[in-house]
């Protein structure tokens, strides 16, 4: 099975979907000849033509709104937001329109769009090229939200998103693009939306996370196992909405000690909802208070290196928290 980078898995997913279904097309800023500012769509316009890999004017609400219109008449658009920080001009189209089209028309119309947006910091992007906006959209019924960590899931979830009959926000992590490599089948497969995945089995503590911080948690878990014999159970949410409640509860039951990790800021983040689910269902089975390790509650991360480092999670921060939880 070929080993590839996360970004290559995304590109492969789009290539396969463009080949599979002529209604699939990509639109966004710089997605054409340039192949996107991160090269995620590189080569696709050359292969599929200008109409199917469409460079748009610099106007995010139109990118989303045009995609929505096309989707309502049977097209399967993949709309790229250059950075998730620039999704906010399209928020009205995503929340007022895409999310509500099926519901408000009483199931007459639907809106099968995919909005791809790179999230996360650690690239010296400053306030507006580093954000994790998941919590802005999370809790909006009608939207599905996915955030893969492994290249395998990046490909499988993107293909599932394209085929989904409802709007899917696809949050890919820009730091993962080339940092994370893994085995990716060249065959046609999907990873179902709504299913979490156990990345590592363990018995002492449970770490629930998604996207880049799983990289830190996995490294920390390996070290803690070797150095201190602490055995960590790690659950990758993969889909943020709808959350896989059963998988969350099962992962918590396994150890009775749970920690939720995400780069998005702590207050009102996905972790708050995961913690609430655990508290509602399993409070008396817990052996330690629920712990959250998240970005601080500041508007976004600074560009100066010490400031960015301070904001970002890393292996050490996650490892220390895991240790603390294990010792509780």
């Amino acid at each position: 099975m070929p080993v590839m980078e996360y970004i290559d898995a995304l590109r492969l997913a789009m290539k396969e979907e463009l080949e599979r279904d002529e209604n699939v097309f990509i639109l966004g800023e710089d997605v054409g000849l340039k192949g996107g500012v991160f090269t995620t769509t590189k080569g696709l316009q050359q292969q599929f033509g200008e109409h199917r890999v469409l460079d748009t004017p610099l106007a995010e609400s139109a990118i989303a709104g045009v995609a929505i219109g096309a989707a309502m008449v049977g097209m399967k658009p993949i709309a790229e937001m250059q950075y998730s920080d620039f999704m906010f001009p399209a928020t009205n189209q995503i929340i007022s329109e895409a999310a509500k089209i099926r519901y408000r028309s009483n199931n007459d119309w639907n809106c099968p769009i995919v909005v791809r947006a790179p999230i996360g910091g650690g690239i010296f992007g400053g306030l507006y090229h580093s954000q994790c906006p998941e919590s802005v959209f999370f809790g909006t019924p009608g939207l599905k939200i996915v955030a893969p960590f492994t290249p395998y899931d990046a490909k499988g979830l993107l293909k599932a998103a394209v085929r989904d009959p409802d709007p899917v926000l696809f949050f890919e992590n820009k730091k993962c693009y080339t940092l994370i490599t893994g085995e990716v089948p060249e065959t046609d497969y999907i990873v179902p939306i709504g299913e979490a995945n156990v990345l590592r089995e363990g018995d002492d503590i449970t770490v629930i996370s998604y996207s880049l911080p799983l990289h830190f948690a996995m490294e920390a878990a390996a070290e803690l196992q070797e150095e201190e014999g602490i055995s960590a159970h790690i659950l990758d949410l993969r889909t943020l909405q709808p959350l896989d409640k059963e998988a969350i509860l099962e992962a918590v039951r396994r150890t009775g000690k749970v920690m939720i990790v995400h780069e998005d800021n702590k207050t009102g983040g996905i972790g708050a909802e995961v913690a609430a689910i655990i508290a509602e269902e399993l409070l008396y089975e817990l052996d330690a208070p629920i712990m959250r390790v998240c970005g601080p509650d500041v508007p976004a991360m600074p560009i100066n290196p010490p400031g960015e480092k301070f904001f970002m999670l890393n292996k050490q921060k996650v490892k220390e928290a895991m240790q603390q939880l294990a010792l509780y």
């Binding site: 097309f25 109409h51 199917r52 748009t56 004017p57 106007a59 609400s61 139109a62 989303a64 709104g65 045009v66 995609a67 929505i68 219109g69 096309a70 989707a71 309502m72 008449v73 049977g74 097209m75 658009p77 001009p89 009205n92 189209q93 007022s96 329109e97 509500k100 089209i101 099926r102 519901y103 408000r104 028309s105 009483n106 199931n107 007459d108 119309w109 639907n110 019924p141 009608g142 599905k144 989904d164 009959p165 409802d166």
Partner: protein, 342 residues
């Protein structure tokens, strides 16, 4: 009027490509929309329904636009005052009344949305919302699909002049201009955005904005349905010929308050409203048809009687129709929702 003048007028609807029958049909639809609107206002005042937002004064342009399109292939993206428009592309007063009463059988939203939020996939009336002008990029996206699939249809989107200040208007126009898409972007300029008059909303003319997006714009008297019909029909042909979008600014006047929750005399005078009532396109069009010799007072009486019956039947039907079940509020968030799964 002498005979020569009369013949000249007769030719007008023929000149724009309307048969006598179609011209009369247009008139019937305008009157139906007007009478529907008046009836719903009464229902609200009588406490039978909660809310109504009126399109009175805008029907001639709405109906003319609907008639200029192809009911079998084109896509329609109306805004919330477009009763005349949706009636002209196939919606029935019974269906509209079901929406007004928010009943389960309402094809627009199954009783979920406010009246005036139209939608019917069968009729290619695209579901709409309340944040204004979001439908402009949708119409552009539908036109993009037409171009990508090489299919011969256009989309027509309407909105008010207040809405034309939203970013989605500009972003949608620009996108359509860049890709030369078959979309007709029609502003129903009724002079008011709730209480704010046009001179406090616009520093220039909406129609002139078309030039900035690289496609033609036409300002047309919205009280003259034959002129609106001509301009929309030509815009449609341009769209089908690959010549791209057209912006139309139809000038009219909102004769009713903004909604049943609005007292318009708090911000405009009765004299101003009365002056504009004189310009109402419906009686004018009736006069035209009478002078053309294709309509009579007798037919008018019959029409009004027929409409009364139709509205009575629709009102009774919708009033008696069941509401959605409370639990059905949980359905259709996502594809395949089973009852109670939420």
């Amino acid at each position: 009027m002498n005979e020569m003048e009369s013949k000249k007028q007769v030719a007008r609807h023929h000149q724009v490509g309307l048969t006598d029958e179609k011209a009369i049909d247009m008139y019937r639809t305008m009157v139906l929309a007007r009478k529907f609107d008046e009836r719903v206002l009464l229902l609200q005042r009588a406490g039978k329904i909660n809310f109504h937002v009126s399109g009175i004064g805008q029907e001639p342009a709405q109906v003319a636009a609907g008639f200029a399109l192809d009911r079998d292939v084109d896509y329609f993206l109306p805004y919330y005052r477009d009763y005349g428009f949706v009636l002209s592309v196939g919606m029935t007063v019974r269906e509209l009344m079901l929406s007004v009463f928010a009943k389960a059988e309402d094809p627009n939203s199954g009783g979920r949305q406010m009246p005036g939020h139209f939608g019917s996939k069968r009729l290619r009336i695209v579901t709409g919302s309340s944040p204004v002008t979001t439908q402009v990029p949708h119409a552009v996206g539908i036109a993009l699909a037409a171009k990508m699939r090489n299919e011969a249809f256009v989309s027509l989107v309407t909105f008010g002049e207040g809405s034309s200040n939203q970013g989605d208007f500009h972003e949608g126009c620009n996108f359509a201009g860049v890709h030369k898409l078959p979309v007709i972007i029609m502003c129903e300029n009724n002079q008011y955005a709730i209480s704010v008059p046009i001179h406090k909303q616009l520093g220039g003319r909406i129609v002139d904005r078309a030039a900035g997006y690289g496609f033609p714009g036409f300002r047309v008297d919205g009280n003259d349905p034959l002129e609106v019909y001509r301009v929309v029909k030509e815009a449609r042909e341009r769209g089908l010929n690959g010549e791209g979008p057209t912006l139309i600014e139809a000038m009219m006047y909102r004769l009713s308050p903004h909604s049943t929750s609005d007292n318009d005399l708090a911000y405009r005078t009765k004299e101003e409203v009365d002056e504009n009532r004189e310009k109402d396109g419906i009686p004018k069009f009736k006069q035209y048809l009478l002078e053309a010799g294709i309509w009579s007072e007798q037919q008018e009486e019959q029409l009004l009687a027929d409409i009364r019956v139709m509205l009575d039947e629709a009102t009774t039907y919708a009033d008696k129709a069941p509401f959605p079940t409370p639990e059905s509020s949980l359905l259709h968030v996502y594809d395949g929702d089973a009852e109670g799964s939420n």
